[in-house]
């Protein structure tokens, strides 16, 4: 897959030469521990770095430069994985081979633009411009607030806050409105220095380019300071202790549809040897259109347009999400419970197992058909095996039996049933 070159301790370059795409892609990933405060500062920083650079000191100049490079893409993003915060710089441009008389070497210039933005940001007197910082803080605050508008996402966020308050599973990778407000230009500079000097860094370059030549130039292109870069220690297990009964919480908003969500904890996380079994169990339960939830809740009973499950392996959680008429809460909840119960009782057909294996395999193979997919999947799975391939993953799924699935279902502990619904629907309570 990717060829790894260690540039220094904690800084790795991963390259892949392929003619599959008409573009060349790059991603630079900075990893640090996830806390509300660092998430806020790093997300504001992501926006500020993307805004301008010493060479292109205004947003307009930077955007025009990218347009001149045939609409080259350059953006930053933050995300989380377990208790890690990941700051990513993405860049992608057309491979000039496909352009009629390109006036410039497009990817080469994009790489220059991006590395300059990173190593020579737009500073005045050693700190970031306050006007830009204030504006980007507002942008992030607006972004955090806008989750409220998407009731499906909002319901899931609220549910996580109710069971994992203050823990990585419920923290936003953008921080909170409060922690973002508290970010100053000075803090931002300090965060920037820390990120450049102390984060673990993974650089990906993928496309039909001379990767040998890139590796030779890497030290010049990415002159990160030598230093101590510590990887983030794995999170302490957050499995719910004791046998407290699952919570049942209802909340109201001015809305029409009811969002009935559930969360279960599982001791099986991403690095657990049973991880592939849990993926298969999730697929049989609610990952696909042949899954028990879709067939029984949607197709047989017409209760929902969507009812599915997803496995958040980095947090040892499994969620079920559905959109229903709130009047049907009890009926739907008990039907969902029955599907989990069916798995625990071994009510699993060979067909269900075969379909789930087929779709998981199709999904992993398909995700390699985009440059970003190749980078993101590799970046995650390299934690398990640097030489992983989709075939190796598929082999593991192939070995999963009905008994394994039954065993995985038995490991689920329901923590909460959560209903978000319109005001009027709740009068019957």
């Amino acid at each position: 897959m990717f060829h790894k070159t260690e540039l220094q301790s904690g800084v790795n370059l991963y390259t892949r030469q392929t003619a599959q795409f008409k573009t060349v892609s790059a991603a630079i990933k900075f990893t640090a521990p996830l806390t509300e405060e660092t998430a806020a500062a790093r997300t504001v920083l992501a926006n500020v770095l993307e805004d301008s650079s010493a060479r292109y000191p205004t947003r307009t100049k930077l955007r025009q430069a990218l347009e001149e490079l045939y609409g080259a893409v350059y953006y930053t993003d933050t995300g989380k994985r377990g208790n890690e915060h990941i700051f990513t710089v993405y860049a992608e441009s057309v491979n000039e081979e496909y352009l009629r008389n390109p006036d410039v070497p497009v990817f080469e210039q994009l790489l220059t633009l991006v590395t300059e933005s990173l190593f020579k940001p737009n500073l005045a007197d050693g700190i970031f411009d306050e006007t830009i910082v204030d504006r980007e803080k507002q942008t992030i605050i607006d972004r955090i607030g806008s989750i409220y508008n998407d009731k499906t996402r909002y319901a899931n966020k609220r549910m996580l806050e109710l069971i994992r308050s203050g823990q990585p599973a419920s923290l936003s990778s953008s921080g909170t409105e409060q922690t973002v407000s508290a970010v100053t230009s000075e803090l931002l500079k300090k965060t920037y220095d820390q990120m450049m000097n102390e984060d673990t860094i993974d650089i990906y370059i993928l496309g039909d380019v001379d990767t040998e030549q890139l590796i030779d130039r890497a030290q010049t292109l990415f002159p990160f300071a030598e230093g101590t870069r510590k990887s983030v220690p794995p999170a302490a297990s957050n499995v719910n202790k004791g046998v407290s009964a699952a919570k049942h919480i209802r909340e109201k908003q001015d809305m029409k549809q009811g969002k009935l969500n559930m969360a279960y904890s599982t001791p099986v996380g991403f690095k657990h040897p049973d991880y592939p079994k849990m993926q298969m169990m999730n697929g049989v339960l609610g990952g696909f259109a042949h899954s028990k939830l879709f067939i029984n809740v949607r197709e047989k009973e017409s209760l929902a347009y969507y009812c599915s499950s997803s496995y958040a392996s980095h947090y040892g959680l499994l969620y079920i999400m559905s959109g229903i008429d709130a009047e049907q809460e009890e009926k739907t909840a008990s039907l969902i419970d029955q599907q989990v119960e069916a798995l625990r009782n071994g009510d699993i057909s060979d067909l269900e197992i075969q379909q789930t294996l087929a779709l998981l395999s199709n999904s992993i193979r398909s995700s390699f058909d985009s440059a970003k997919g190749q980078i993101e999947i590799y970046d995650q799975y390299k934690l398990l095996d640097e030489n992983f391939t989709s075939d190796k993953l598929i082999e593991k799924w192939e070995r999963v039996t009905k008994e394994d699935i039954q065993e995985m279902a038995a490991l689920l502990t329901k923590e909460i049933t959560y209903l978000l619904s319109g005001r009027e629907a709740m009068n019957h309570e």
Partner: protein, 432 residues
Amino acid sequence: MNKIHFDQLQETLYHQKLDNGLNVYVLPKEGFSKTYVTFTTKYGSVDRTFIPRGGKELVTVPDGIAHFLEHKMFEKEDGDVFQQFSQNAAAANAFTSFTRTSYLFSSTSELYENTKTLLDFVQQPYFTEKTVEKEKGIIAQEITMYDDQADWRQYFGTIENLFENHPVRIDIAGTVETIQDITAEHLYECYETFYHPSNMVFFAVGNVDPEEMLKFVEQDQQAKSFESPEPVVRSFPSEPDYAAKKRSELYMDVSKPKLMIGTKCRNTDMSGKEMLIRELASDVTLDILFGRSSDFFTKAYNEGLIDESFSYEFNLENGFGFAAIGSDTEKPEELEKLIKSVFEDAKNNWSITDEQLERIRKKRIGLFMRALNSPEYIANQFTHYNFNEMNLFDVVPVLEGLTTDQLKSAFEDLYYEDGQTTMTIYPSEKSE
């Protein structure tokens, strides 16, 4: 079989029109694992008044029926088609737009089994009153879900404001009320009229051998019998140039207000190259006026009138067209004024330069090349263009030839007296 090589893009498109009228296209992509296959009928939510196959009189069917039909195609006497696709490792889906209904799958193995399933399920309708009734609950939940999505409500609110009579103003899925009137008989009537192969396109892109695939589809179609092709007669009400409603507002549980300005496109009776030029010229003009490097964007963003949700788009089909520009904003009145002043300035003092055009031209060519990495994009755009007698692979040459005069005439049809509307969503009182 026709073979069209696009030298600059290094792509080769294979095409064959079958005896039953079906157009089959295949685009192989080297290095890809998956194949993305679509089977699409030129039938969408706007096709509500038409002469049924074998009939003489126009009929008008209940709103939301094309979308309802899409849902019901997946159910057969012996079960659900999703099951078959899953078994053969394919992820299947479908969507209904204003003008098209598309059925698709993507898979990395068992390509021909899946292709067979796709062709068979779309060409073998099975509806009963019981299964139709059952679906009403599911679709009602889908409609209710969209009812809670402010962006969706605003988009359709804007279109509804712009069009007085044209059915583009009706939500694609209809309403919980209108779908109650749908019967199995309606579904058969629509199916027979619009799902004839001569009204459809098959497109496969990705890891596929073109000649083998063309042969496979041809043999499959030869083994089935179809009535002879007949042109579909649709009827659309006449639509004035002006916007039906100058403004409307709505209160929803959102974090801050949302503003959208819609402009209605006049002179939309076109197809082919003329339409492609018009579409791309409108896109480029909007990009110059409202894109991220525009004076507008810099000002609006710096003054906090827009945030990351800002977006603009342009849609053109034969018979209707519109642009929509919107953002979440704490200052909807100020933002409205600013957007309108950008339009007014362009109208009164047209000043788009060759340099601006050159830069956005380059940007659009690059974006198009990038989009060609995506089998989904290729198949979906290709079909949209194909139904309007355009060719996706003409995009780059047309962009290369665009002139500022073409931008100006596109703009004149997009922005004129009385052709605009404003749709605002304000936060309702927050829930306790």
